[in-house]
């Protein structure tokens, strides 16, 4: 049995079915991310002055990732345009760029996550606060070693100065009252950061798996049913552009403002 309207357009909608479906799916995605952004705005507006973190994320890494996603989006659209006009090899070339960019994006994101889970604020029993990245090679059961600084107060941790001179700090385990890393349980900001960017990363992984499958294992359809194959590439591309679009809001919201 043939599935109808995989290539030809329905008269009532003016669209082939996969395109109709992907736009409905994207509409539901808008609601999903919209709810999370609403939560962010509400929590941020409701936070007491000085309790909302600033400059906790490296905006340079965020900017690089933004550019990487933009390049992947444009290469994706160019790949589809080439396919539309029958240049399969050029499609493969540009789509390879898309896949490479997605891998770079995930690599940078992993690096950021790794840094956050190894970044600690350590409160000592005498009230002093140390903040920095754990040096795993030098840390032992009795002694914690971090590359970091001594914030004057909790407020300084929330909004650290731009040019911190980090140095090696050794703290005996017996001196420590509390240790908190910059993971999702740290506060609302980090919780929302990991939730939103984690969900976005899942979308990147899902999107690139589909793009890769069409690019590699499933590209035989180009020979048997090129129009349907082109349509599949188009709907995958629509999803990929949406992933880029979401990031364009995540970047300024979390990294800059």
């Amino acid at each position: 049995m043939d599935i109808p309207y995989t290539v030809e357009r329905r008269e009532d909608t003016g669209l082939y079915n996969a395109k109709l479906g992907v736009w409905l799916f994207l509409a539901s995605e808008v609601m999903l991310f919209g709810a999370l952004f609403s939560s962010y705005i509400l929590l941020r507006v409701g936070a007491d002055p000085g309790t909302w973190p600033r400059h906790w994320l490296d905006y340079k890494l965020g900017a690089v990732n933004t550019i990487v996603l933009i390049v992947s989006s444009v290469s994706n659209v160019i790949a589809w345009a080439n396919l539309k006009f029958g240049s399969f090899n050029k499609y493969r070339f540009y789509q390879a760029i898309t896949i490479a960019c997605a891998i770079v994006f995930l690599g940078i994101k992993s690096f950021e996550y790794y840094g956050k889970f190894h970044h600690y604020t350590i409160t000592l029993k005498d009230g002093r606060i140390a903040d920095g990245h754990i040096q795993k090679n030098e840390t032992t059961r009795d002694k914690i070693v971090i590359d970091g600084w001594w914030p004057a107060s909790e407020a300084a941790v929330m909004d650290p100065p731009a040019n911190i001179e980090e140095k090696k700090i050794e703290i005996q385990s017996g001196e420590i009252a509390e240790m908190r890393n910059y993971g999702p349980s740290r506060n609302n900001f980090m919780g929302l950061y990991f939730t939103l960017t984690g969900l976005h990363v899942l979308h990147v992984i899902g999107g690139i798996l589909v793009i890769f499958a069409l690019w590699g294992p499933l590209n035989g359809m180009w020979k048997t049913d090129p129009d349907r194959y082109t349509n599949r590439v188009e709907v995958a591309g629509l999803f990929w552009s949406f992933v880029d679009l979401v990031w364009l809001f995540i970047f300024p919201t979390f990294y800059l403002l």
């Binding site: 709810a35 609403s38 933009i70 949406f242 679009l245 800059l256 403002l257």
Partner: protein, 108 residues
């Protein structure tokens, strides 16, 4: 009417050129958001937030309009998106209104 291979080639080249221009504009927009978020406009941080998010909105428009071909889509999709916009607005409104009564109750 079928296009000749030469015309098709020109079409692809035109599309590629347009998409590259948009990508450059998006990259420039990203750099602008960094600048606007760090510059003191002398009217409080609220203005920085507004300008930065306006640039992000313009970037999103370019991605949706050109990369997702929304500027030349069918009415059915505009209809879906109009409903989505309404539902999103209502959802955001409900979240914010849910926060408001607490202020009203505690206000003296």
């Amino acid at each position: 009417m079928n296009k000749s291979p030469e015309q098709e080639h020109q079409d692809v080249k035109r599309r590629v050129r347009r998409h590259i221009i948009i990508a450059v504009a998006l990259a420039a927009g990203t750099l602008m958001t960094i600048w606007t978020s760090q510059t003191d406009f002398g009217r409080g941080f609220g203005l920085n937030v507004a300008i930065t998010l306006a640039i992000a909105g313009a970037q999103a428009f370019m991605v949706a309009g050109f990369f997702m071909h929304l500027l030349s889509e069918k009415k059915m999709i505009y209809c879906f998106l109009a409903f989505t916009a309404v539902f999103l607005t209502v959802m955001m409104g409900l979240i914010f209104f849910a926060h408001m009564p607490a202020n009203v109750v505690h206000y003296k």
